[in-house]
Amino acid sequence: MKEQDKMPDDRRGFVMALGGAIATAFAAIGSMLLPGSAAASLTDDEDEHDSEEAVVEVQYGMVIDVRRCIGCHACTVACKSEFDVPPGVNRSWVEYTEKGQYPNVGRSFLPRLCNHCSEPLCVDVCPTNATYRRDQDGIIAVDHGVCIACKYCMHACPYDARFLDPVNEWVDKCDFCIHRVSKGLAPSCVNTCVGGARIFGNLADPDSAVSKLIARHRVSVLRSEMGTFPNVYYIDADFTDEVDRRRPELREVRVITHRRHKERT
């Protein structure tokens, strides 16, 4: 009987209990996220920040001079054989963009790879620290032994640079050929490029070939609005995308990605 007397304000009571509970939850979450708390100090975040502020000595990057690309896919094939990449997935690939209406038409090529971003979202979301930034050269790498294949990073990357390795069931992507560049060799795609369209080097050194090209040309990066600060630069890239079909002056736009899933995402 005692319980039933309370009935009229039941609903409000529940909502108030819920409100208090929400506040408690936020307080709990907040205290976990505060820098310097027990949770944060378990990671080596603080060390990372220190080294970011220090002078960067080596930041590997690439310049892709689209004017010199002939769309031959030699880089795609070199990369495939370098890493024995399973069918259907790519660490590096070349897209074609065709636009306009006959006789006013154009076609351009866009070699793609991981941008080894300076603000890599893939690193931020990785729950196991399997994806990490190498302090010594700025390469973003995946530790295959640690990756749990949760595929969170595949969503976080705005460039679709990552894929699930269907054989090994871990997530993989371009690593700038760490095994080659750490021995002073150029990445396999750069080594094989017939037109000399891919140029690799140290962006932190103002006298490197890549730094000079960037200084002297109008360069661009992909999806700069994402705030990822890519370290792969393009000279003369055509940024036309399928959404540009809405433009009356183009009308016809065809993007051929040469990847298993046909559309850019």
Binding site: Q4, M7, T43, L110, P127, T128, K151, L164, T240
Partner: protein, 315 residues
């Protein structure tokens, strides 16, 4: 189960089940604390929630672990903690699984389980259950919202939506279980009053949550539609003519929210508005929660798929 997207049915089911389980335990613990932790009708509601709540969470988690391909790799999640929503979420989840099972055990008919010591333990654990349940319910939405590369998800309101839906489906699970298992003699006046009394608490709360959820969905759609760029293109997938429009409007909005909301309002209104009587047949307490739960699953399905099928526009 591959849908051709990085996250397939296991992940969607996990998001739904973990949310529902967390919502059930949160609702149960709130009810218990509201009733002062003692016996009575709040206790019986709390008990149904406590006893069913851990099941969906554990089932969802097992599904998720097997989705990884090599289940033991999941242990790598517990070798570090970082600020990734998935890392924080897995720690929340592990803690919640332990605490919710503990909570459920306290409701089993041990000898002397109505004693003062047991009730005080139940109260203490309930106080932990509420924030940890909410953190599990909310992290799944934060997880999706964290990435500008997925414009459909990249909004703080997704976390709010998932949290409300979690509590609403949790309430539905409690109503459903209670309708199936509660033995009541409706010809005994005290029992009849107590049955309808607690039924009213549950239904009224559910109506409120459904209303909030509709409001949040409206805000999500309105802001996405009013902006230009990636988010506007992304939301087209659930607007009329889009690939997921039928599932969204028919399944999530109509079946999962509007219809259950209207039916429950019909039964709740007399008591809410002019102190009349609340009497809902048992069949309603079975059908309506089922619709809410199906709608909750479809909500996860539509949101997760819409986010994966759309991306930023331009290069």
């Amino acid at each position: 189960m591959h849908l051709g997207t990085p996250w397939g049915l296991e992940v969607i089911l996990y998001l739904f089940l973990a949310g529902m389980g967390a919502g059930t335990i949160t609702a149960s613990a709130s009810m218990l604390l509201r009733g002062g932790g003692g016996d009575g009708q709040y206790f019986s509601i709390a008990r149904y929630g406590a006893l069913v709540g851990p099941f969906p969470v554990v089932i969802g988690t097992v599904l998720l672990i097997f989705e990884l391909g090599r289940p033991f790799r999941a242990l790598n999640l517990y070798k570090v903690i970082n600020l990734s929503p998935m890392s924080l979420g897995s720690w929340f989840l592990a803690f919640f699984i332990v605490i919710s099972i503990l909570y459920a055990l306290l409701f089993l008919p041990w000898p002397n389980w109505h004693g003062e010591r047991m009730s005080s333990w139940r109260r203490r654990i309930a106080w932990i259950c509420v924030p940890s349940g909410l953190s599990v319910a909310i992290y799944t939405g934060v997880l999706l919202g964290a990435m500008p590369a997925r414009p459909f998800w990249n909004s703080p309101i997704i976390a709010m939506l998932f949290m409300i839906s979690a509590i609403s489906t949790g309430m539905a699970l409690i109503i459903f279980t209670r309708a199936l298992f509660y033995k009541v003699h409706l010809d005994v006046p005290t029992e009849e009053r107590s049955w309808h009394g607690s039924g009213y608490v549950l239904a009224a709360t559910d109506v409120l949550l459904i209303g909030f959820e509709l409001l949040v969905l409206f805000l999500l759609l309105m802001f996405a539609h009013l902006t230009v760029g990636s988010v506007k293109y992304a939301v087209e997938i659930i607007l009329p003519g889009g690939e997921l429009a039928v599932l969204f409007w028919g399944g999530v909005v109509l079946l999962g929210l509007v219809i259950p909301g209207v039916i429950e309002m019909f039964f709740v209104a007399p008591k809410l508005l002019y102190g009349g009587h609340y009497t809902a047949p048992r069949s309603i307490d079975i059908v309506v929660p089922l619709a809410v739960m199906v709608g909750g699953y479809l909500l996860r399905y539509v949101i997760v798929m819409a986010g994966q099928l759309t991306g930023p526009v331009g290069l």
